[in-house]
Amino acid sequence: MKVRVDPDVCQGHTLCALAAPDVFLLREEDGHAYVASEEVDPERADVVRRAVATCPEGAITVEE
């Protein structure tokens, strides 16, 4: 599956990193999120879905 964080929508709430700290990393300069790798093991789908559901801005998209 492909996972993306829209950098224009992310505001650095950091909740995705709470859901899946191995998938979502936080930039040193502003704490905004980025994905460690766009390709994410489908076995991680559950935590990725939790991250999508907890993002207050709706900044994360997933392509199955």
């Binding site: 709470l18 936080l26 930039r27 040193e28 300069e29 704490g31 709706g58």
Partner: protein, 427 residues
């Protein structure tokens, strides 16, 4: 709601009815629609639906935070205070607001904030030491006011010991209702605080300590379009935002854990719950209850038509209890997750200090649970803010507990030692 049906409700976030009715009154409002109209304070839309709030927050070009008399923009406070001063970058629109945020971001990122952990822990323990042997504490005066204030001084690059200069005015400026007799005193305190900030900027220019003030001055020297008014407003914003909100969250959490001893035990035994519990408490109590906007042009957003010049209040606190988004919205569920709360605001003006708030809150709560596990609030002595429409806070939260031994040095010594380290460039 479709188009421009104007459902008028009797609503004022500064009223006693709001204070006693929060958060339940939001449900009555939402029955009328996600966006309703209040005739108070010159009239304004109140956004109580969580989804509508998210839509509006995505459009800073339509909903301005700015305070600009010429444009008719009135800033984030409803009602707008007298005068023209702006509250730093919170009362700026893009691109100007980003000129300032860009400077602060690296100092407030999760990685940067983590480096302050040891200071926060030592200060929290010193605060508890100061009352440890007496068995009596005012959680607001003795702990929750002190730790965020000291940390904010450190971040700004101001002398740590100066926390006391700013503490009372920073709280009074939010708990004093505008137009109340008390406001005259508060206004004087604020003026003195502003003078002191001006002096600190001058000092920082001569002998800068690492921190936000130095970073702002350096950015301006390097050509960033920052000005004196914006820099002073930003410092005041950091003090206002840093001092009062975390205090409010901590006091609410401690009162909740007085009422629910089972959850107190659970949080002690399962500290890994603290991460989700912190988000849940920010959602449930929402220290910063909302913020005002001014509509910049006729538009339709969230299925609702707005007209140029209208005022809008983003009701973060009420929207955090919207049952369409939050199951069992009026219960505190410490392990609630996902938790799409708007407690730190939404969009480009989202709280820039949220990582600090989390660190400070968790550290203070952890210290209390460790050292005062049996604390009991003296409910007769609880004093909440008269007006919770800006900050849902407390003036006093007294408690008793089984006395314990001091563990470390007095606060003044801790601050002195840390000041030396900070002056040398730490953390």
């Amino acid at each position: 709601m479709s188009g421009r049906e104007r459902v008028v409700v009797d609503f004022d976030q500064h009223s006693p009815e709001y204070k006693s009715g929060f958060p339940g009154l939001g449900h009555d409002l939402r029955e009328q629609g996600p966006i309703v109209w209040s005739d108070h304070h010159g009239g304004y839309w109140v956004v109580v639906g969580r989804e509508a709030l998210g839509e509006i927050a995505k459009h800073p070009e339509l909903f301005s935070n700015d305070r600009d008399r010429d444009k008719g923009y009135k800033g984030v406070a409803i009602p707008a205070p007298d005068g023209d001063g702006r509250g730093g970058f919170l009362e700026m629109d893009p691109p100007e607001h980003m000129d300032y945020r860009r400077v602060l971001n690296p100092l407030l990122s999760p990685a940067a904030v983590e480096r302050w952990g040891p200071l926060v822990t030592e200060v929290a323990d010193a605060c508890i030491d100061a009352v440890a042997e007496t068995g009596a504490v005012d959680f607001v005066d003795d702990l929750a006011n002190v730790v965020p204030a000291v940390l904010t001084m450190g971040l700004l690059g101001m002398p740590l010991a100066d926390w006391e200069v700013y503490c009372e005015p920073a709280h009074a400026m939010v708990y004093t209702p505008p137009n109340s007799p008390e406001f005259v005193r508060t206004f004087r305190l604020i003026l003195r605080m502003v003078e002191s900030i001006t002096a600190s900027i001058a000092t920082a220019r001569e002998a800068p300590r690492p921190g936000i003030i130095k970073a702002l001055l350096a950015a301006r020297d390097a050509g960033a379009p920052l000005d004196e008014e914006g820099i002073e407003g930003t410092i005041l914003l950091v003090i206002g935002g840093g001092f009062d909100t975390t205090t409010a969250l901590t006091a609410h959490a401690l009162e909740w854990l007085d009422q629910d001893r089972g959850e107190r035990r659970r949080l002690r035994e399962e500290p890994e719950l603290l991460d989700t519990a912190t988000e849940e408490l920010v959602r449930f109590f929402t220290p910063a209850q909302g913020g005002g906007r001014t509509v910049t042009r006729d538009c339709e957003v969230a299925g609702h038509r707005f007209r140029k010049g209208e005022r809008v209040w983003m009701a973060y606190g009420l929207s955090n209890h919207d049952p369409e988004v939050f199951e069992r919205p009026d219960e505190i569920v410490p392990d609630r997750f996902p938790n799409r709360h708007a407690g730190f605001g939404l969009g480009i003006h989202r709280c820039i200090g949220s990582n600090l708030a989390r660190l400070t809150f968790k550290t203070m709560l952890g210290a209390v649970l460790r050292r005062m596990p049996d604390y009991e609030i003296d409910t007769a002595g609880i004093v909440r803010y008269d007006d919770i429409g800006t900050i849902n806070g407390y003036r006093h939260l007294p408690a008793r507990f089984t006395p314990v031994r001091k563990e470390g040095a007095p606060l003044a010594d801790v601050l002195g030692r840390w000041q030396e380290r900070l002056d040398a460039g730490a953390p």
